[in-house]
């Protein structure tokens, strides 16, 4: 009898302490909840609403139904900016990961000096993207740029990276490779977790460096590579600052280049330069849709390709 009472008391006490714990937790979390409601939930809803309107900030939003979405299909600059963004992302993501992996593998073998070189490789990541945009204009300048002077010196063709529509995006990919320090650091951390025994036994088996890389390294760190693919793809789709700095803005409109019109740049122009906020909102949803499709596809594909340790998938 007494045991039953104490059990009931205990559960009552526990319920009380549970409620107290919940209240305390919610108090700690409250800043985020508040911010989530104000700066995520409401903006998402309102952006959805705006995408069906004509809105210039000064006059009230004017409901136009699907017009913005229909216009997007007919707007050649939507197709252009989307294509530009796709090309840039498709070029930059593999380039990023291959170069970063190669450098991380070199660092892994450098033993004592690896800390020093890691610092050096990471440093460019600190450069503000505006300055990267400026450096792009200067170092990749067709006539006087350092890159082209070097290319000419060794007898290679020196394209006009900052003006030739064909070479603008490869140029931007190259300059973005300069600031990929975080990918190197992340891959190096992953490489350090690969058991050395795997390589030792592979070496005894006569596997060369290429075989070791493709059969051991890449599969063992595939989850990290996948993480970087996702992150870099999302970042690629939202490319803005470097290209905007170099090719757009108030003064250098004579210099603007359609080959560098990325989707977010065009969205920014529509929203904040032409004040077509309804249209820009519709564009934002299109971007969200494209990013979501890409991410989902990458997740589906990854299920076949990615190896998670201690996980039977």
């Amino acid at each position: 009898m007494s045991t039953v009472v104490s059990a009931a008391q205990l559960s009552a006490r526990r319920r009380l302490s549970n409620r107290r714990e919940t209240v305390a937790a919610l108090l700690f979390i409250s800043p985020w909840i508040l911010g989530f409601l104000i700066f995520t939930v409401w903006p998402v809803i309102y952006s959805g609403y705006l995408s069906f309107t004509d809105y210039d900030v000064i006059n009230d939003p004017n409901f136009v139904g699907l017009e913005n979405y229909v216009t997007m299909f007919e707007d050649p600059r939507i197709a252009l900016s989307l294509t530009n963004t796709l090309i840039y992302t498709i070029l930059s993501v593999p380039a990023h990961i291959i170069v970063a992996l190669a450098l991380a593998m070199l660092l892994l073998r450098a033993a004592r000096a690896s800390g020093f070189f890691r610092t050096v490789f990471f440093l460019p990541k600190m450069t503000p993207a505006v300055a990267v945009g400026v450096l792009f204009l200067l170092l990749f300048n067709g006539q006087d740029g350092l890159i082209n002077k070097m290319l000419r010196a060794i007898g290679l063709p020196a394209p006009y990276w900052t003006t030739d529509p064909f070479w603008v995006k490869p140029g931007l990919v190259l300059i973005s490779l300069w600031a990929m320090g975080s990918s190197i650091v992340i891959l190096l951390a992953a490489l350090k977790n690969v058991p050395v025994e795997l390589y030792e036994s592979a070496r005894i088996d006569g596997a060369n460096l290429w075989q070791q890389t493709t059969r051991i390294t890449v599969p063992m760190i595939s989850s990290t590579i996948f993480f970087l693919v996702i992150i870099n793809t999302i970042a690629g789709f939202q490319m803005f600052t470097e290209a905007y700095t170099a090719f757009f803005g108030s003064g250098n409109t004579t210099y603007s280049n359609d080959a560098a019109l990325f989707f977010v740049i065009y969205l920014f122009q529509q929203g904040f330069e032409f004040l077509n906020m309804g249209y820009a909102s519709a564009m934002a949803w299109l971007l969200f849709l494209v990013i979501t499709i890409f991410t989902v596809v990458q997740f589906v594909v990854s299920r076949r390709l990615v190896y998670y340790e201690g996980d039977q998938r």
């Binding site: 919940t22 937790a25 919610l26 108090l27 700690f28 979390i29 911010g35 989530f36 104000i38 700066f39 409401w42 903006p43 952006s47 900030v57 450098l103 070199l106 660092l107 073998r109 450098a110 070189f117 490789f121 600190m126 450069t127 503000p128 505006v130 300055a131 400026v134 450096l135 204009l137 200067l138 350092l146 975080s182 992340i186 951390a189 592979a202 005894i204 088996d205 059969r215 051991i216 599969p219 999302i234 939202q238 600052t241 700095t245 803005g249 108030s250 003064g251 004579t254 920014f268 929203g271 904040f272 934002a284 949803w285 971007l287 969200f288 991410t295 076949r304 390709l305 990615v306 190896y307």
Partner: protein, 312 residues
């Protein structure tokens, strides 16, 4: 392609030589001496390649700093040591643009952004890490989920909020959102809190400490390395941001340094007056604080990034 990445295949391959070694002692093909010379050559090659890469990675910095000490006509001469060394660009830029004001604006925004986001994110992260309550998992999934939402979707309504509050043209929209925490840092700090032994907090509770005291006096001091990472990451993110200053700032006197650099580029770059020495100098001024920041918090930056990748 699939077969190379197939884990079972890799495991089988890795296991096979072990089995072989058990049945038959494999004779050493390469005599030990030749092997060391070969590996010594390999080491030399390795360091030469690494040094070459290091030059490529540092060269743009050196080029930029060097160019900022050259007169207008020499900017593109690509010499590492300026032929005609001059300090004039730094004086000219001070007259041409309110660089001092920009630096102060950037400092204000950057410090406020970093301090507020660290404090608020730590609080929220602690709420998720320490307490057990129904719906915790789902709520935390929501926090992580917000990271997938592209900034472009919320950009316009967020502008309308600040515009409605009359805050456009001020520095407030550049940092005030950080009062509400940021998903990435909440994730990072929660991860760190979860790694701390729970007994410490239970001991404090038995000693009569309330929830706030446990958080501020026990958890936060233990969390210092992760707080430093958060602070440094946000200092960098906030200092280098261009998009928000482009959206919210109109007058030159309210500009941050990157926004100022962009306006100088518009004025003196292509389509402008071709005064590249000014732009180069402004770029150096924009970049140097970040280099200093990196050398202060080198370890935190590198460790912080490495953690992101392995736990993400």
């Amino acid at each position: 392609m699939t077969s190379t990445l197939d884990p079972t295949d890799a495991a089988a391959r890795a296991a096979a030589p072990l089995a072989a070694a058990e049945t038959a002692e494999a004779p050493r093909v390469v005599p030990p001496r030749r092997r060391t010379t070969r590996s010594r050559i390999a080491r030399v090659v390795l360091y030469v390649v690494l040094a070459g890469c290091a030059v490529v990675f540092t060269y743009p910095f050196v080029w930029l700093v060097s160019a900022s000490f050259k007169p207008r006509s020499d900017v593109f001469d690509n010499l590492l040591i300026p032929k005609n060394f001059t300090f004039e660009n730094y004086l000219t830029i001070w007259q041409e643009a309110p660089i001092g004001v920009w630096l102060i604006n950037s400092a204000i925004v950057t410090i406020l952004a970093a301090v507020t986001v660290t404090a608020s994110s730590a609080m929220v992260a602690w709420g998720f890490a320490y307490f057990r309550f129904r719906g915790r998992g789902a709520l935390f999934a929501l926090v992580i989920g917000t990271m997938m939402l592209p900034g472009a979707v919320t950009m316009i309504p967020t502008f309308l909020i600040w515009n409605g509050l009359g805050a456009t043209g001020t520095l407030t929209p550049l940092w005030a959102q950080n009062l509400f925490g940021s998903a990435f840092y909440i994730f990072l700090l929660r991860q760190f809190f979860l790694g701390l032994p729970r007994e410490l907090f239970e001991a404090a509770r038995i000693d009569g400490a309330n929830n706030w005291r446990i958080f501020t006096r026990v958890a936060l001091p233990l969390c210092r390395p992760a707080l430093a990472v958060t602070l440094l990451f946000e200092l960098q993110a906030s200092w280098t941001d261009l998009m928000r200053p482009l959206i919210y700032l109109r007058d030159s006197d309210t500009f941050t340094v990157p926004r100022g650099l962009k306006s100088l580029l518009d004025q003196f770059g292509f389509g402008g007056e071709y005064h590249w020495e000014i732009i180069v100098t402004a770029s150096v001024i924009t970049t140097v604080p970040m280099i200093i920041l990196f050398f202060i918090g080198q370890k935190q930056f590198v460790d912080g990034i490495a953690t992101t990748g392995t736990k993400g």
